[in-house]
Amino acid sequence: MAEAMVTARDLNKSFAQKRLSILKPRQYLHAVKNVSLEIARGETFGVIGESGCGKSTLARMMVGLHGPDSGVIRFAGRDAASLSAHERHGMVQYVFQDPAGSLNPRKTIRQILATPLKLLRGLGKQETRERLDEIMRAVNLPLEALDRFPHEFSGGQAQRICIARALLAEPDIIVLDEPVSALDVSIQAQILELLADLKEKFDLTYIFISHDLAVVEGFCDRVAVMYFGEIVEVTGSRSLFSGARHPYTRLLAHTAPRRGDDILAEADGELPDPLNPPKGCAFRARCSKSSDICATINPGLKTTNAGSDVACHFADED
């Protein structure tokens, strides 16, 4: 593997819950548990999982919107905790799921896009103007768009603006948090194409959060599958469907709708109670392979014979 652009070691994050009564102890929701990962320079690394699995919390920790309770994040070998906010924002940027909601409704696009240039890059007026014209061309938006307000744009256009804002900070890494989930399929494809072009052009590393396996399969190089706050499998995205080793990855891959296939569904499957996490493997209640060992020992990520990392006691069986 080339030089690691992003490394995370044993990240943990929990959120204090509102106290139901003064007499009861405060409860904590453990959103991300012992997550470690390594992402190479220039890689597109997918993180998939269902709502509530902790993927957005992980994404927000990467850019510093949440601080981890414990664990270390490194960007190109530098400890994120030692970086100033400015240094960090100049290295890692973020694109939100809801493009309209991440643009201040009272500001023009020019004002929004000039902010990172002025504050993170320290550019003057003339340079700012030139950079703005340049970036609008790069994301295929007309220059007139600069002087309009966010509500005048469609979802796809607004997402182009958000991508432009992230690019203007000249980051090495962009965290894309479900960047196409709120868009129509035809627009999704446009944005994915744009992201792929920009990655080449600006030599970027992507962390791509999604719940859509089909998109991840086509867009990413490697994928981490999260379940209940933990990474349960890291594998090449092309082998998501056929080569998955963790039963949860298989479940996800096979319930995703495919034209021509019948509907495949588990009879009944619910997430465990996050305030009352089960012992051992969190997936065992939904797993056909589960046995005694699953109820007591959390398997943890191990490299399998096939070369992927899987958190399952039976990863090497079939």
Binding site: E50, V185, G269
Partner: protein
């Protein structure tokens, strides 16, 4: 957005209020230059002179002082004190609210609990206490009124700040390099102006009243200085014998407060986007219908739409949302309607039962036949009987369509009772349990006693399916029922819907933007584009051999897992605007096959065997 000033002028009452205020303000500003007599000169000989008598335009008071002069000087003072108090309250309250809302946690707890303490006292008592401590005097009355009104601003502004501070655009601005102070000033504050101004304009009149009240009690302005409250207070003794001395300042207070309140309400309406969009306009129970000579209803079983047109009448040209849509659904069949957002698929579905909000929606042509009747010609009572009973809806977000304050059991039994009165509660409960079992809910008893927010998204969607099934409907119209759900849950819900229609013969209209989902459940697929059906046919045919270029493009940009197809192929461009549709084929601008002929004339739907295609390049196989 229309400029604020123009919207206020358009609101007649607000304009009237503004006129009143402007007059009073001009008079106040001009007071020193009007050459009035000194308001404090006592001339006991002229006491209680009536208006228009002996050179006193408004008469004289109990000490023979000129009322006109005292009134204008007093109004000047009252307005200045009221406005200053309001400004101080707005400033202090907003600062507290912004800090509490933005920083949250301990700061919030400390600031808002202090404000709560202030609110725990009746306001006039609090004002009295403050004046009692500080001593009487206009300046102290001003402070008292300001302090009493701080909580109002603090609470309003905090609520709004909370929402803004947690929004994505604030997080995004933080990542663009803004620190806390810069975030507050340049990102949060611009979004708060409207709230602060509205709160200010609706309370300033109240504060003038309160200042007058304190002066009336002798705690505000001290003699001989006049303000409106003290004038009223001094005239109180002569209320019966010489009413003009109290009537005149009373009227002035009335005019000022009235003017401010009318203008304030107008500003609130103009600034609040929800109100300016007509959000408070009540929509009718049934979509407005304005059609001439509808075709006779079909007698076939199932649900049939024929030539349906629905438009939104906003602005100068109507938005044509649904144009001449003809669709049929046989019992037990699943018909999918697919298309991008804005293609008219949801409006089509809502038009069936007259559920599109009117105004602005109007159904301008077509019939909806069900059981030999034209649903569009039915009265509200008949439609209401059918809604949920024979034809039920399922929506995308079950949290919005379930009542948050009622348990699942209460809602289910209510749905059954509203169409079938007289069932015993045991019987109702039994049926509710059965319904939940039908949608594969493992422990119905527990779920029946739960509130919607206690359940997961997948559970809630199953419950809304159970609600839809409560009265054994013939048709279920499901509008993106699985879009908000995770894939594993989506598969469960699809399975339930599929089983229901096969076992119970329910006709299912399934609206979705996802061709992969639709492919798994539907018998027929209708593809909509810009309000029209562009292709309609058996699912197998449409998916395996798509005839319309738009259908092909949609399939090419819907990735499927396991195909290793790389990136999906985008469709360039976007939907044409619904109020300015092109003359020819609406898809021509995005179509690689488009020629001159496509753009010249509207394209008709060509029907051949079971397939319908709106494309001049299509050649039916058996044509």
């Amino acid at each position: 957005m229309m400029p604020l000033a123009r919207r206020i002028v358009r609101n007649r009452l607000a304009a009237f209020g503004a006129g009143l205020l402007l007059t009073v303000t001009c008079l106040c500003l001009a007071t020193p230059f009007l050459g009035l007599v000194d308001p404090n000169i006592i001339n006991t000989a002229d006491r209680f002179t009536m208006p228009f008598d002996e050179g006193y335009i408004l008469g004289a008071d109990h000490l023979g002082r000129d009322i006109l002069s005292r009134l204008l000087w007093g109004t000047r003072l009252s307005l200045a004190v009221g406005l200053t108090a309001a400004l101080i309250a707005a400033l202090a309250g907003s600062l507290i609210g912004i800090a509490a809302g933005f920083f949250g946690g301990r700061v919030d707890a400390l600031l808002m609990r202090s404000v709560d303490v202030l609110m725990a006292f009746p306001y006039i008592l609090l004002a009295l206490a403050i004046v009692a401590v500080l001593g009487p005097g206009l300046m102290n009355a001003l402070i008292a009124v300001a302090v009493v009104n701080v909580p109002f601003f603090a609470r309003n502004v905090r609520g709004m700040t909370l929402v803004i501070a947690r929004s994505d655009f604030i997080a995004a601005a933080r990542l663009s390099g803004r620190g806390n102070l810069s975030l507050l000033l340049f990102e949060v504050l611009p979004n708060l102006w409207a709230v602060i101004i509205v709160a200010f304009s609706t309370t300033v009149g109240w504060m003038i009243l309160e200042t007058a009240g304190l002066s009336f009690l002798g705690l505000g302005s001290q003699p001989p200085q006049s303000d409106l409250g003290s004038m009223l207070g001094e005239a109180r003794a002569a209320l019966i014998t010489n009413p003009h001395t109290s009537l005149i300042p009373g009227l002035m207070i009335f005019v000022i407060v009235m003017g401010i309140n009318l203008l304030g309400d107008g500003m609130r309406d103009a600034l609040d986007p929800r109100l300016s969009k007509g959000g408070l306009q009540r929509s009718r129970p049934v979509t407005e219908i304005d059609r001439s000579k509808p075709p006779a209803p079909s007698r076939q079983p199932g649900l049939h739409l024929s030539g349906l047109c629905t438009e939104f009448r906003v602005g100068s040209s109507p938005l044509l949302a649904v144009r001449n849509v003809t669709l049929g659904l046989a019992p037990g069949e699943c018909l999918a309607i697919v298309g991008e957002s804005g293609s008219g698929k949801s409006v089509t579905a809502l038009s069936v039962m007259g559920l599109v909000a009117s105004p602005p929606a109007v159904i301008t042509a077509g019939t909806v036949s069900y059981g030999g009747r034209d649903l569009l010609a039915q009265t509200y009572d008949v439609l209401r009987g059918l809604r949920g009973h024979r034809i039920a809806y399922i929506f995308q977000d079950p949290l919005n369509s379930l009542h948050p304050m009622l348990t699942v059991g209460e809602q289910l039994t209510e749905a059954m009772q509203s169409h079938e009165a007289g069932l015993s509660s045991d019987r109702l409960r039994e049926r509710a349990t059965k319904l939940l079992e039908d949608v594969r809910i493992a422990n119905p008893a527990h779920v029946l006693a739960s509130y919607p927010h206690m359940l997961s998204g997948g559970m809630r969607q199953r419950i809304s399916i159970a609600m839809a099934l409560a009265n054994d409907p013939d048709v279920i119209i499901a509008d993106e029922p699985t879009t908000a759900l995770d894939v594993t849950v989506q598969a469960q819900v699809l399975k339930i819907l599929d089983r229901l229609r096969r076992e119970k013969g329910v006709g299912l209209v399934f609206i979705s933007h996802d061709l992969n989902v639709v492919a798994q459940i539907s018998d027929r697929i209708a593809v909509m584009y810009a309000g029209q059906i562009v292709e309609n046919g058996p699912s197998r045919d449409v998916l395996d051999d798509p005839a319309h270029p738009y259908t092909r493009a949609l399939l090419a940009c819907s990735p499927q897992i396991g195909m290793a197809a790389g990136l999906p192929k985008p469709i360039g461009g976007s939907l044409p605007p619904a109020d300015n549709l092109p003359a020819g084929c609406t898809f021509a601008a995005r179509c690689s096959l488009a020629s001159k002929a496509c753009r010249a004339l509207p394209v008709d739907l060509v029907i051949s065997d079971e397939r319908e295609v709106r494309c001049i390049k299509w050649e039916p196989a058996h044509g």
